[in-house]
């Protein structure tokens, strides 16, 4: 195997690069619709025994769990049964080297009595977050999925009810090999917008025509003024009255040639614009309210014809609404639910290990009323304790938003780079590789450090003082 690939990898890489160029030209990339919460998958796929909709981040999470379980089975099967056995090579050995390195690392940080608990916690969080983060590197994740109608509900204060509105999306398009995709070159324009644009063009043309006529009228008036000055002064009014009929004639004449030419020109430009759009294979949607499969607008009452999930491109149905891609899998760490849950678990475990190590006295860290009446600065201790309490809640936010921000920004970075330079996002994939590893390490390491700090008595100085007094 190795000898076969020797010196040939570069050609494989070149081939993939060329394939990337081809795909980028054939299937123009699209910035997916970006939203923070995980997108719901089409209905009918509820979480069993609940009425919760499956989000694409949950799909990624399930993949992570399954991968971890497979990994667990693999490691549990291959690991040596005792210390005298020689460990097997390959992937297992790599994992063991990593495991041993991290074990040494954590025992250097938190090598106390609670090392086992702290290290197991560290390792679990590390593995879960690392796998979740690195999923963003797999091609197809965040980009391949359902094409769905992009709609939004909006409260209309005028009618005091929710209205389903369509927002900007793309036309659906049929690529090669029968793959449907939304075409980044064809912005979806709603029929209303199209009609409005037509109207605007007409109005503009009318305005241009009138302006041309006005200009002509001014010219005629000026010419008449000149003529009247040249002629006798007393019959000026008479001639003026008679000349009005001439003006009308002039207006008619202008309307028939110059003004109407300007009018046609504007309309022709509008027509050319529409034609260019048609030439790009873009069509304008039919004006009906969007109706995602199973989607029920809060407006209720009116039943509407559902739009199929995989519309036939080119059919009338396909053009009724703007389409966006709903990724089947979105990296789990871009969902606040995951990061928040892990952060809460981490902070709860910090409190747990603190109570386990120091007993109920650990809570005096937060509610430190012991010195309130003994020391003149007792009030400060109380305030500090309360600040600690707030600080621990802030830890939850800091943990969750650090991971979420880094990974969500990374995902957007990959979208945008793929959109701007379709064939060259790979340096950013390398960046994401490191960011994913570092964020996983930081999350797990901070958990370990905070857990270790909680096991260390904060009354150490007091004890020291007592010892000296004795």
């Amino acid at each position: 195997m190795n000898s076969f690939w020797n010196g040939k990898r570069r050609y494989v890489a070149l081939l993939l690069f060329l394939a990337g160029v081809f795909v980028a030209l054939e299937v123009p990339p699209v910035i997916p619709f970006i939203q923070l919460p995980g997108e719901n998958l089409p209905s009918g796929y509820n979480i069993p025994f609940t009425d919760m909709r499956i989000t694409n981040t949950l799909v990624a999470a399930v993949i992570v769990w399954i991968l971890l379980l497979l990994f667990l089975a693999y490691i549990a099967r291959r690991r040596p049964k005792d210390g005298s056995e020689v460990p097997p090579g390959g992937f297992y050995n790599m994992f063991e080297a990593l495991y041993e390195g991290l074990m040494g690392f954590i025992s250097g940080i938190a090598g106390g009595a609670h090392f086992r608990l702290i290290f197991n916690m560290f390792m679990t969080i590390f593995l879960i977050v690392l796998l979740s983060n690195w999923m963003s590197l797999i091609p197809g994740i965040d980009t391949v999925g359902f094409i769905h109608a992009h709609t939004k509900e909006k409260y209309d204060p005028a009618t005091e009810e929710y209205k389903v509105i369509t927002t900007d999306g793309y036309e659906i398009y049929q690529g090669f090999l029968g793959i449907s995709y939304v075409n980044g070159q064809c912005d979806w324009i709603s029929p209303a917008d199209e009609a409005a644009a037509d109207e605007a063009a007409l109005a503009n043309a009318e305005a241009v025509r009138l302006a041309a006529i006005d200009e002509l009228a001014v010219k005629v008036a000026y010419a008449r003024y000149q003529a009247s000055h040249d002629g006798h002064g007393d019959d000026a009014t008479e001639e003026g009255a008679g000349g009005h009929g001439d003006d009308d004639h002039a207006e008619e004449a202008g309307d028939s040639d110059e003004a109407s030419a300007a009018y046609d020109e504007v309309l022709a430009a509008r027509e050319a614009e529409k034609q260019a759009r048609r030439d790009r294979d873009c069509y304008t949607g039919v004006a009906i309210s969007p109706w995602e499969d199973g989607y029920e607008p809060s407006g209720k009452d009116e039943k509407k014809e559902p739009i199929p999930l995989h519309p036939d491109p080119g059919s009338a149905e396909a053009k009724r609404v703007p389409w966006v891609v709903l990724p089947l899998v979105r990296v789990a760490s871009t969902d606040l639910n995951m990061t928040l849950t892990l952060a809460i678990i981490a902070v709860v475990m910090v409190q747990y290990v603190g109570v386990k190590a120091l007993g109920i006295g650990y809570l005096t860290k937060f509610f430190n009323f012991g010195t309130l009446f003994k020391s003149p600065l007792g009030g400060i201790d109380v305030a500090v304790g309360l600040l600690e309490l707030i600080g621990d809640f802030a830890k939850i936010l800091s943990f969750s938003f650090r991971l979420l921000g880094a990974m969500f920004a990374g995902a957007i970075l990959l979208f945008v780079m793929s959109f701007l330079v379709p064939i060259l996002p790979w340096p950013f994939f390398i960046l994401e590789f490191f960011v994913g590893a570092i964020q996983a390490l930081v999350f797990a390491l901070l958990t370990a450090i905070f857990m270790n700090l909680a096991t260390i008595s904060h009354h150490h100085d007091d004890d020291h003082d007592h010892a000296e007094a004795h």
Binding site: A76, R79, G83, L336, N337
Partner: protein, 233 residues
Amino acid sequence: MEALGINPGMMLIWLIAFIMLYVLLTRFIYDPLTNVLNERRNRIAKGLEDAAAAARARENAEAEAEKILAQARSEAQKVIDEARGRGDDVAGTIEGEARQEAARIQYEAQNEAVAIRNAELGNLRDQVLNISVAVAGRILGENISKTKQKALVNSFITDLPEGAKGLGGSVEVVSAMPLTAAEQKQITSEVGADEAEFAVDPSILGGLIVRWPGGLVDGSVRSQLNELARSLN
């Protein structure tokens, strides 16, 4: 609240899910895994301790071993030195003996050779005497008394030069022919030496050369012939 998407029902779901996940994860992952990891850490710590103790023990053992090793090394050195010394002694002894033996053999061989030569020369002396008597008789044409002739020849051989009489001390006498014991005794007394060593050198042809520490008297026929040859030239 509504606009932020806060939904108490959803939060409740999350809460339940979180608690369930916490309980399950704690039950099936955190508790057992933490125990396993602690146990493993303890085991490792214990293992490290044991290893440290073992290392300490090993260090001690190593020091001990080092000490023992050093001791052994020095002992071995001593043994080697001893062995080398003894070997050297033995070798020296053997060599000395061999040398002595060789010298002895050489000496004996020399002596033997000299003795054989002297014996040969002694035999020759009689023949020379006879030949000289016969030659003299033919030349003179008369029958010469053999005894007289022999005495003459003997005196030719054993004629002691003038300056060599009454010397004393130890002298070396070189003759052309081996001398008989009587002659030797006579010459010794004539020289007046306490001790005389007799050597034979046929190349001096006749007469005696007497050598003593501090001088020599050459009464040999060869030197006389040489002198004659010089004066004739």
